[in-house]
Amino acid sequence: MNFAEITLGHYLALSSVLFLIGLAGVILRRSLLIMMMSLELLLNAANLALVAVGRFQGLPDPQVAVFFVITVAAAEVALGLAILVAIFRIKKTTAADQLASLRF
């Protein structure tokens, strides 16, 4: 077996690992800032898969899709940081478990 050759499978495996790391980050970390970083990781894992698929199948469409994803991710983060700043002004913290005013 030739390990030097990188196939689509390798890229998809790497992207899945990144996706799982991001998922774990969103679920387990308690800082909103790090949760948003993890969300970025989720989207970038998908981007990696898209680019790899496009490259290996010789399709331009998935690579164009990446631009859509990047744009959306940027908009989401801009908004998320704005909300975070507003929360920090009031609560002086960015810890997710401090946001408990809505618990039943």
Partner: protein, 485 residues
């Protein structure tokens, strides 16, 4: 020419006009802005209804089509917009003279995304449309930025929405890997008569997970009550009705009318849908019982309704699809008036606690009667509209032979009756509190609630208009599908 004035274009233009108008209207006359918004949204509703009757022959590179489903749901979404605009102008945002233009304009952009989504026939188009809806909603949920609860709701919605986007994009990536396309038509042709590959199943699973967040199905429902409670009430209504309906429209497109109503995929997703439906109905109903805040209460009620629709969808047959379409309209007609009332309750009493309803039956018999009819319709009591909706879910399940789903559904409908009676009991059986606020409900609210109650009754006895809508949504008038690959 006329195809360029489709609702999406007009909605975006109107949103821009509202923001520009805010800059142009002098400071003392800002009161005109809400009126302008209400007027424009109503005009748009008229145009959308008119347009949905027109054939739209052209599909733009197959990304965007007009068919039965889209022509039934575009008016649905724009009607939600009219309702949201109507109550947004009365949202007590603080000391400002009037609501800000952005609070009125953003729902227009979000609705443009919803209409786009009803017409999208490509996963990439779906992704872009869904994000247009979602990002506007994150902002709107956090809009009341002096209230921590609102910011918190916005943040939770953003994290959950981001997670769902992640699943969706990952699903799209795997779909590319498995089929080499994201276009529904191509995928149908590609996959016809072939067993589904593992990659395709994974892709659909990931996309389904992303959509399950949107419709707040168990186990992806946890965000809904918190976000509904914290967000400004007009936005809660939009989230609970339009955003939930968007998830179902996509599920209908993907699993019903579109790419994956195939035997090769159905065998694995049918049990998933039904299990999810059973869990969602059960949790939504049981968790609603102890709720005392009307917004949380409506959140759980919405989760339960989503469960019934999932059960109907899970049969993956045409009658199940039609049932979901009818159920969504019934849900809109019964729930929106309640949200309008909840906002007025918040204006008068400062919170949406169910104890503020105590003695409403004597104090304000008109609204109380309308509310009672809406709640009973949600509970599914004959002869109201909600009964027809639930009945068609049960007959669908019966004829598909899904007995476990049917049994759980019927039991939970009976249990649900208990929790829909909670506000009704408060209105008619509880004694009026000693101190009643001097402020009364405005007269338009009385009329809306009575009208809504009457609609439940009339449509319950004579569901012909809804049946016609359902038939239209199922009509195979899909235009623009190329015959060759």
């Amino acid at each position: 020419m006329s195809r360029w004035i489709c609702p999406e274009v007009l909605l975006v233009l109107t949103g821009v006009i509202l923001i520009l108008a805010d800059a142009l209207i002098p400071a003392g006359k800002k009161g005109w802005l809400p009126r302008l918004a209400i007027l424009l949204s109503s005009v748009l509703f008229g145009i959308t209804v008119w347009q949905s009757g027109q054939p739209m022959p052209e599909a733009w590179a197959n990304l965007f089509i007009t068919d039965g489903l889209s022509s039934v749901f575009k008016p649905f979404f724009v009607l939600c917009l009219v309702g949201v605009t109507l109550i947004s102008v009365r949202y007590p945002m603080g000391r400002e003279e009037t609501v800000r233009a952005e609070f009125l304009a953003l729902p227009f952009f979000s609705t443009a995304g919803l209409c786009l989504l009803a017409s999208a026939r490509d996963f990439l188009a779906i992704f872009v449309a869904l994000e247009l809806v979602a990002i506007s909603l994150y902002l709107l949920a956090a809009f009341h930025r002096t209230r921590v609860a609102s910011l918190e709701a916005g943040m939770k919605l953003l994290v959950m929405g981001g997670l769902s986007t992640g699943f969706l994009v990952m699903g799209i990536a795997w779909l590319y890997a498995a089929t080499g396309s994201t276009e529904f038509t191509r995928i149908i042709l590609e996959q016809a008569g072939r067993p589904a590959s593992a990659g395709l199943l994974l892709a659909i699973g990931l996309i389904l997970t992303g959509l399950a967040f949107k419709i707040a199905a168990v186990p992806f429902h946890a965000w809904a009550p918190d976000v509904y409670e914290g967000a400004p009430t007009p936005i809660t209504a939009f989230l609970a009705i339009a955003s939930k309906a968007a998830g179902f429209v996509l599920l209908l497109r993907i699993f019903g009318f579109g790419a994956f109503a195939l035997d090769s995929v159905g065998w694995i997703f049918r049990p998933i849908f039904l299990t999810m439906g059973i869990a969602t109905v059960t949790l939504g109903t049981l968790a609603a019982l102890p709720q005392r805040n009307l917004k949380r209460y409506l959140a759980y009620s919405g989760i339960a309704h989503a469960g019934y629709m999932l059960l109907a969808l899970g049969t993956l047959g045409e009658s199940g699809m039609g049932t979901v379409v009818g159920y969504l309209w019934a849900y809109l007609l019964a729930t929106f008036p309640v949200f309008i009332f909840v906002q007025e309750l918040e204006r008068v009493h400062g919170s949406a606690d169910v104890r503020h309803l105590d003695g409403l039956g004597q104090r304000d018999p008109g609204p109380a009667l309308g509310l009672t009819l809406c709640f009973l319709s949600m509970a599914g009591l004959p002869p109201l509209l909600g009964f027809s909706a639930k009945l068609s879910v049960f007959t669908t399940l019966w004829s598909a032979g899904e007995i476990p789903g049917l049994v759980v559904g019927v039991i939970m409908a009976v249990v649900g009756l208990g929790f829909y009676l909670v506000p009704i009991r408060a209105m008619y059986w509880e004694r009026e509190p000693d101190t009643v606020p001097a402020q009364r409900f405005p007269s338009f609210l009385v009329w809306i609630l009575l009208l809504a109650g009457a609609a439940q009754l009339v449509l319950g006895f004579q569901p012909r208009p809804l049946v016609r809508l359902v038939e239209r949504s199922l009509a195979p008038t899909v235009t623009g599908i190329p015959q060759e690959k």
